[in-house]
Symmetry: C2
């Protein structure tokens, strides 16, 4: 694999756009990325398109990418549609990365696009539930909010995490989102407002949950060698990108404890079995990038429910389960904290058009590493632009656990 | 890209299996491929799963591959779901090939699986129509049989192709299918029976059309270096694998005429614009493999309608449009002919579970190159086992033309 960089990113704002089609959303993100990369559209040699639920929402079950990209004026290239539920965007990035890395092409587009608002909530809920085992799980009424709530209850019992802590994560992300012009929700919120919002599944209240959303996000990847000759923007390299499905086998056998690094610390006995697998993915990504969790200066973490950010930060080795509440209370993951998490507002505030989220996370970290994040720009140790960022995106519930777990490490 | 070989293939018979789920079908194909490759299932390091319509047929819109592979006992690996309508299987192969070729993994599984029979024909037709532009095309009632019929009419007018010629292609493929234990239809048929069957859209009669089908097919790919050390079967190398979406731009600008090779001959003025693009894909595949059409000794060609085999053979450079009827009448594409096409029976007889077809074609050519095709084994010049085979698989109708065109060249 040769080295691959991201030379352009672009988004369509996330939100409720009843008058815009899947094509409309995709076109804006693709062209924003093309302009950002400062290339001719015909320079794009391949495209990977991530989408999760269009078949059930818009009826466009087949050739989604070909239809969306035709709307953006792109054809005559290999177009591959990929799907991995809420991780579809990250998977599109990964496959584009492998295509460029392998030498199959020099410049590839990764697009994540999703249309969720269709005026029919029951249709949408059914579509979302189809990211679990439809026969064994969804048909029994078990859905994702419930899964998250049950897992969080275990952390509350074992590590004294509180509903107030969870509200604080939401408050942080809502504040960050208020500074992000691409976010669905751009209004700060108090902990009281979060806690007093409608209870969805204890401990989760409405404003802790990500929402349905329409949106799109894109990235343009290029071989580092070619980009070095042509690109005028700082190059953001994909240092590693790992995808994994939770294993059936005892995940403890692939212990995620890193003895050499105290901060990378999924300890034995954590209540949530699946986190071991997620930690394994993180460890592999760190190893391949030749860094550790303490080197990360900015991160986008899949907070489909705000407190999931705490759980997943543990799997990423950012802090230990027993220290998580202190990190939250002390604002150590805020924009100005020692490790800003979800400066974009995360799924909680930016919204969660499922197939687009992974590439929105990528876009945010690229902007942060380039110093283009405006009022929400983070600084390493309060001073320099960050050089290393991490994106964690995951999706779906397979019989063995999480269907698609990804960790991508970006380096400037 | 390092060299990649196919070390195992496997199928679930195509047909009508109302009692079998998507998982049941996939499991059989995967395990047949695992046994054929003579590897431990845990040796598989990544999987690419092609499926086209499960979201609309079974309701499993998301994480199809994770659900199907869990049913086969596989998890704990990267699983990527890919879609490209009737070419989904070939795309799964291509992405697995790139993953192994890039060095991301040494052994990868490509699976194509489709469940089409669901006791609701209107649901199935709607699902199939969603492989075109749902808003602009499918909603107007234009579907694939009609598209094929219109294109064939042009050939009848311009090149004197006759409905009797088309029936002969169906007769050849039905005969081949009668020798294939994996085929949905294993009964030979006379030209009279084909011509007298129900008219679907002139010139197409029922027995010229591929049918709905349940089924699965899989291939296991390995780096050539590793396979050389471990495999006991003849290695079948992927010499090239090209994927393309029809371009908007005048396809004549990428002329498919090969001046050096009289047989590679999409001439100017062919009635069917899209064939130029398909010829471009073939030419790229030949160039990358370092061979020409006259080197092909066995081919599987996407005969979703039997006479489409004639159109596509032109794009593949096998013969000229005006010579096509003679080739058909003289049996030059029969099992014992100079270039056997669709020895498996093709889509016409084997059936067409859309996402599985591409890998069934691959399976057939692998068996032919290895000399394992039993009573339908083809011989090069009537004597030796073939060494070079070609698979053409395509799918979907995008605004610019065919959504996904693939040509794969395999070499023993």
């Amino acid at each position: 694999m040769r080295e691959v960089v991201i030379i352009g990113v672009g988004m369509h704002r996330f939100g409720r756009f009843l008058d815009e089609s899947l094509q409309d959303l995709g076109r804006v993100a693709v062209w924003n990325a093309i302009h950002d990369a400062d290339i001719e559209p015909k320079a794009i040699q391949a495209a990977y398109v991530g989408n999760a639920v269009a078949g059930l929402i818009t009826g466009q079950e087949g050739i989604r990418g070909q239809i969306v990209l035709a709307g953006a004026g792109l054809s005559g290239i290999p177009i591959v549609n990929v799907e991995g539920a809420c991780a579809s965007g990250a998977i599109a990035l990964r496959e584009a990365w492998i295509a460029v890395g392998s030498g199959m092409c020099d410049i590839a587009l990764a697009l994540g696009v999703e249309k969720m608002f269709c005026g029919d909530t029951s249709k949408l809920l059914k579509a979302l539930a189809s990211s679990s085992d439809v026969d064994a799980e969804a048909s029994m009424g078990l859905q994702f909010t419930a899964l998250y709530a049950m897992n969080l209850r275990k952390f509350m019992q074992k590590y004294d995490w509180t509903q107030e802590d969870f509200a604080k994560v939401a408050v942080k992300n809502k504040y960050n989102g208020s500074l992000n012009p691409y976010a669905q929700y751009q209004k700060p919120m108090t902990a009281e407002e979060v806690l007093n919002s409608r209870l969805i599944a204890y401990p989760l209240t409405l404003h802790m949950c990500s929402s349905a959303s329409d949106g799109a996000a894109a990235a343009i990847l290029c071989s580092k060698e070619m980009a070095r000759r042509n690109s005028r923007k700082p190059l953001v390299e994909i240092a590693s990108c790992v995808l994994q499905t939770s294993p059936f086998i005892d995940p403890k056998k692939r212990s995620a404890v890193n003895k050499e690094d105290g901060r990378f610390c999924i300890e034995e006995g954590l209540p949530f079995r699946d986190l071991y697998a997620q930690a394994g993915v993180a460890r592999e990504a760190y190893e391949k990038a030749g860094i550790g969790p303490k080197d990360i200066e900015v991160a986008e973490v899949h907070d489909a429910m705000a407190p999931a950010e705490m759980m997943r930060s543990i799997a990423l080795g950012f802090f230990k389960a027993e220290d998580a509440p202190a990190w939250v209370r002390e604002g150590r993951n805020a924009l100005t904290g020692e490790l800003p998490i979800n400066p974009s507002g995360g799924l909680t505030a930016r919204g969660h058009p499922v197939g687009a989220t992974g590439l929105a996370q990528i876009s945010e970290v690229v902007w942060q590493l380039r110093g283009e994040a405006g009022p929400r720009q983070v600084r390493s140790k309060g001073k320099n632009l960050p050089k290393i960022g991490l994106v964690q995106n995951s999706g779906g519930h397979a019989p063995s656990g999480t269907a698609a777990m990804t960790v991508t490490i970006l380096k400037r």
